[in-house]
Subunit: 86 residues, 4 copies
C-alpha cells in the first residue's frame, strides 16, 4: 500500500501546491481546478497498474481562504486553549 | 466552526486514545468499540446545540495493527525516500 | 465483494430500520445509536474473516426528521420539476 | 438544500452519463475524466452563489467495468437470494 501512496505523494510534492500528509490521507490546498487535476494524476498513476482503485475526496471550498492547512489547526488549538497532537 | 471542532477535540484528548488532528479531520487509533463510542460522544456533543450535524467517518480496521498513526506516515516517507510535509 | 455486502444487507434488512441499497452504499434511517450499532454489527460481520476492513460512514443528523429516505429524493425531484433516475 | 442538489441533478441529467440519485448522494458511471469533469461543473454551479461548498466524492474505478449501476445492486440481491429495498 505504501508503495502506491508514495507514488501519489511524489506527484503531490512535485506539484508546487501546499499539502500535509496524515495517517489516513493527504490534505492539499490550492485553486479548485489545480487540486482536482492533481488528484486525477495521482489516481491514474495508481490505476495504471491496478485493476481496481478506490479514491475518496472531501472538498472544503471557501471563498477567499488561504493558508488554511495551518490556519484550521491553529484555530482549533485556540478554541481548546492549548497545543493538540498533530 | 472551530468552536465545535474544539469541543470534539477536548473529548478526544481526554479519551486516552492516541490521535492526530489535521486540517480536514482527526485520526484516532484504538479498539473498534472504543473509537466508535468516542465518535458518538463527539457527534452528540455537537448535536446538543445544532439542528443539523454532518459527520464523516472512515475506518481502516487492520487485524493486530497498532502504532499506525506514526507508522503509516513513516512507511510512505520510506517509500518516497525522504521526509514529507506532515 | 458482493458476498460481504450481501452479509451486511442481511443484517440491515433484519434490523427493522428502513434502508435503501444503492450501487455505492446503503442508506439507513433511524435513531443515532441504533444506526451506529447496526453499522458496527455489519463491520464486525465482515471483519471476522477479513484481515483488513474499510468502512466509510456519512451521517446526516437532523433534529426531528423522519421519512427522509423518500423525502430527500422527492424534494430534489420537486426542485427539478420532474422524475429523476433512482 | 434541495435547490442546490436540484441544480446539480439538472447538470448530471443533461450530461448523458448514466446515474442514480439516492437520499445521500448521486452515483454516476462513466469514463474517469468525464465523471470528474461533471463533478467539477456541479461543484462550481453551487459555489457561484455560496461562500462555502462541501463536496464528498468516492470513486470506484474498475478496469473494463460497465453497467455497474444496476449490476452491483443485482449481485448483492443474488448473494442474499432476494429483492432488497432500493
Amino acid at each position: 500500500m505504501s508503495k502506491y501512496v508514495g507514488r501519489c505523494l511524489e506527484i503531490v510534492d512535485a506539484s508546487g501546491l501546499d499539502y500535509r500528509l496524515n495517517p489516513m490521507g493527504t490534505v492539499v490546498e490550492g485553486p479548485f481546478d489545480e487540486v482536482l487535476g492533481l488528484i486525477a494524476r495521482c489516481h491514474k498513476a495508481v490505476a495504471k497498474d491496478c485493476d481496481r482503485v478506490s479514491t475518496t475526496i472531501k472538498i472544503d471550498d471557501r471563498k477567499g481562504a488561504s493558508g488554511e492547512l495551518d490556519g484550521k489547526v491553529r484555530r482549533v488549538e485556540a478554541a481548546v486553549g492549548r497545543k493538540l497532537r498533530t
